[in-house]
């Protein structure tokens, strides 16, 4: 008895460059429409998937019926996360073998400190087609990168911030408390 699982992960990384020319140069370099100009100035979207080797695949962005984008193949591995009770500060990393592609990603996002990542995980059927309703989206912000001679690790933390304890303190009012006792006799009922 066995059970087969096929999962594709694809991400959309928004990088922000200090140099306005860098974004334009990247668009000219890319022939696959997987690097596109972002909405804000000096921003670029990089789109990659890790299942369909040496293929560019279309995946939906937001509502599947309205828009889809091209995702080129990149041999990355996504791993994480560490959660705490508050739900904030989940750590997440994307591992790449060192190549031209990932070095460009790192340099574009100022060592991955000025980047935003949207990672989507989709289950595939036996024909390697996406199963509707089995997609999960996660959002992260870049916090840096780590290098070795063979790998580059892009590090992220969750974009969500937890509900902290620094809200204005709630104060007791007569309306909240009701009538206060005038002596120390308290009747428990």
């Amino acid at each position: 008895m066995s059970y087969n699982i096929a999962i594709v992960q694809y991400f959309e990384l928004l990088t922000i460059s200090n140099n306005p020319d860098t974004a334009k140069n990247l668009i000219g370099f890319n022939q696959l429409d997987t690097i596109t100009i972002g909405d804000e100035p000096n921003t670029v979207y990089h789109r990659y998937q890790n299942f369909f080797v040496n293929e560019t695949k279309k995946f939906p962005v937001g509502d599947p019926s309205t828009k889809s984008e091209d995702y080129a193949f990149a041999p990355f591995r996504a791993e994480g996360t560490v959660n705490n009770l508050g739900g904030d500060n989940s750590l997440f990393s994307v591992l790449f073998p060192t190549n031209e592609l990932v070095l460009r990603l790192v340099e574009q996002g100022n060592s991955n400190r000025l980047s935003r990542l949207k990672l989507t995980t989709v289950w595939l059927n036996a024909n390697f087609e996406p199963i509707s309703g089995k997609a999960y989206e996660e959002y992260y912000v870049g916090i840096g990168a780590a290098f070795s001679e063979t790998t580059v690790e892009l590090r992220f933390r969750s974009a969500m911030d937890s509900v902290g304890s620094k809200f204005p303190a709630r104060t007791f009012t007569r309306g909240l408390v009701g009538l206060l006792p005038l002596n120390s006799n308290v009747s428990l009922q």
Partner: protein, 140 residues
């Protein structure tokens, strides 16, 4: 990147006397639970790592030099290359193209690499038997 030589500079064809081909495997990890049920997780849609062992028996120094130069031209195991038609001579066209490309789609998404250093056995004066092992990897 230089293709594997089809012939020597004087036109001597380089054909193997023996070849062993092993199909590539698909990137799958298996987890078997205590109950015996196995979960297989696929990580890609194409096979990788097909291997090819070639033997060139009793060839002269001209062929030995051609293979020797090709190995060093590729930086040993560093650079990938395409195989020549003579490597798979004798096969029909469809399987010929698949084996030559090293993948079932017979496309250009893969390259062959030396898996290890070629082995040369001296048989007789001026004659050698060369054995090479190749592995097919994705071209990125």
């Amino acid at each position: 990147m230089a293709d594997f030589p089809n012939a020597t500079s004087t036109g001597l064809l380089i054909k193997p006397s023996q070849r062993n081909f092993t199909l590539g495997e698909y990137p799958v990890k298996t987890y078997r639970s205590l109950s015996g049920k196995a979960i297989r997780r696929s990580f890609g849609n194409k096979p990788y790592g097909a291997t090819l062992e070639l033997s060139f028996a009793n060839v002269n120094q001209e062929i030995l030099t051609a293979i020797y130069n090709h190995y060093h031209g590729q930086g040993g195991v560093t650079l990938g290359f395409k195989l020549s038609n003579n490597i798979f001579v004798g096969l029909s066209s469809s399987i010929f193209n698949q084996l030559k490309a090293g993948n079932p789609l017979a496309d250009s998404s893969t390259l062959w690499f030396y898996q290890e250093t070629p082995k040369v056995e001296s048989v007789y004066k001026g004659l050698s038997t060369i054995t090479i092992a190749l592995v097919c990897e994705f071209a990125l």
